[in-house]
Amino acid sequence: MTAWTRDEMMTVAAARLLWDGCVCFVGIGLPSAACNLARLTHAPGIVLIYESGTIGTRPDVLPLSIGDGELADTASCVVPLPEIFAYYLQAGRVDVGFLGAAQVDRFGNLNSTVIGPYESPSTRLPGAGGAPEIAAHARQTFVMLKATPRSFVPALDFRTSAGFLEGHGSRALSGARGGGPRAVITDFGILTPAAVSQELELSALFAGATAEEARAAVGWPLLVAEEGETLAPPSDVEVSTLRALHARTREAHSHPVRLPA
């Protein structure tokens, strides 16, 4: 079996959660790698939507930005951004939305806006982008985020995107039509919401990771699911497909841009 990294396992774990034919609203970075890994392995019929308006895109290399030309070149169609958000996302036509963030709390709420007070932040983050409406309207969301006590926090500095709000069904009263976070994929394993409280609990560990490690990385007292599992390590096919994808991407991005004369 090939050696693998935790980053690779995060991507593989996320890819495995996707199914053939599912409609994904993809973000840049790990989610984009995960969705394309799924497409290149067990889910060839997955429909990838990037918020730039590309629908059914099948990039050969990973985009650096959400709107690289590769995405348009390989899409079934490209629609204006207002339509992607109104006619597809808000209309409830997206099965899975991927989200990242700077902070997540125990109910899967996310902060990507500021560290510190909004009016005088110590760190100004990029902001909401498409996240609040992805969080509200995708039938389910997957959050991908490496764990440290600074990112998995007891209280967000700013709530950018709704997870389960205060838990215990409070999301259902909010107007959010999607189901909320189904999983938080992090670098030791996967957290999923408990049935009633909707608090995130450790439900799966990567091979080689421990519950102690997980507790140390999370800034609140982490619950552990009764029927936790250990995830199979990446298969040779998963690892080789992912590495080939990254290699193609590096190669493509190393070409200098030639402006027309």
Partner: protein, 281 residues
């Protein structure tokens, strides 16, 4: 429609204090126009854009802006915009007022602007602290169901600047590829300036393609490479390595200033800007 040089177009249509949208969602970002605004020393601009990226980082860092309406301000796939951050976190070189939204909210606001409705609506801003942070996010009650729906004021910039692949001599502008909310931003504005890769006698026939008809376009400026380091589908690709290099260039104010002086203030136009980068590479 007027056919102008970029210098003339910016001089005529972008004035101090104006509300200006240089739209472009990763693709077709009007970089050349932003640089010309910096060269002409515009001040107190209210900048509008869903995804303020490097060119807004540059304009903010050079002190052109007093206010920013936006929904995501980062270097895509790379990280922070350091000049934007310094303006917000430390008020340098000037304080920057934020009017912060989500992508869906900005899109609704542009659509409302293009339709000359006073507000746009969406099922949005649900459970987010943005509602408390921004008094310009409100709600309306559906007169049929009683539901409350989020509302944002229409965006109607004084001028929108776009970049496109081509225009014909009459001023009809055609763009293709990823188009973001550019068309809506263009139609929402009081004036619309478009830089283009090429000017042709006749646009390629394409029945349902994206065209801004000549009578909604205020000025066209011929500006090859005008989206660089962003890209123009079918003309040239995105210079992802420049986006990565920008992180280091812009990280501290001194290095940023030196780079801007050499490559933007120190060049007369976009052609010279591009040439200066060749030298630097």
């Amino acid at each position: 429609m007027q056919l102008l040089s970029l210098r003339e177009a910016i001089a005529e249509y972008v004035t101090d204090g104006a509300c200006v949208a240089l739209e472009g969602f990763t693709h077709l970002i009007p970089f050349a126009a932003g640089h010309e605004i910096i060269r002409q020393g515009r001040r107190d601009l209210h900048l509008v854009r869903m995804t303020p990226d490097l060119v807004y980082d540059q304009m903010i860092g050079m002190g052109c802006a007093r206010r920013l309406t936006f929904s995501w301000g980062g270097n895509p796939g790379v990280g922070s915009l350091h000049r934007l951050r310094e303006a917000v976190e430390r008020g340098r070189p000037k304080p920057l007022e934020l009017d912060e939204h989500t992508h869906a909210g900005m899109a609704a606001a542009y659509c409302a602007g293009a339709a000359r409705l006073p507000f746009g609506m969406l099922r949005g801003y649900i459970g987010t602290d943005l509602v408390a942070a921004n008094p310009r996010i409100r709600s309306v009650e559906c007169p049929f169901t009683g539901e409350r729906i989020a509302a944002v004021p229409a965006l109607n910039p004084d001028v929108t600047v776009l970049h496109a692949q081509r225009a014909d001599r009459q001023g009809n502008v055609a763009l293709h590829g990823i188009v973001g909310a550019q068309r809506e931003a263009g139609l929402a504005a009081r004036a619309l300036v478009v830089t283009v890769e090429e000017i042709v006698d006749t646009l390629p026939p394409a029945m349902n393609s994206i065209v801004l008809p000549h009578w909604v376009v205020s000025a066209v400026a011929h500006c090859p490479g005008g989206a660089y380091p962003a890209y123009a589908q079918g003309c040239y690709g995105r210079d992802n390595s420049f986006y990565q290099r920008w992180d280091a260039i812009s990280r501290d104010r001194t290095g940023f200033q030196a780079w801007m002086e050499r490559h933007v203030l120190g060049t007369a136009d976009h052609r010279e800007f591009l040439a200066s980068l060749q030298g630097a590479a």
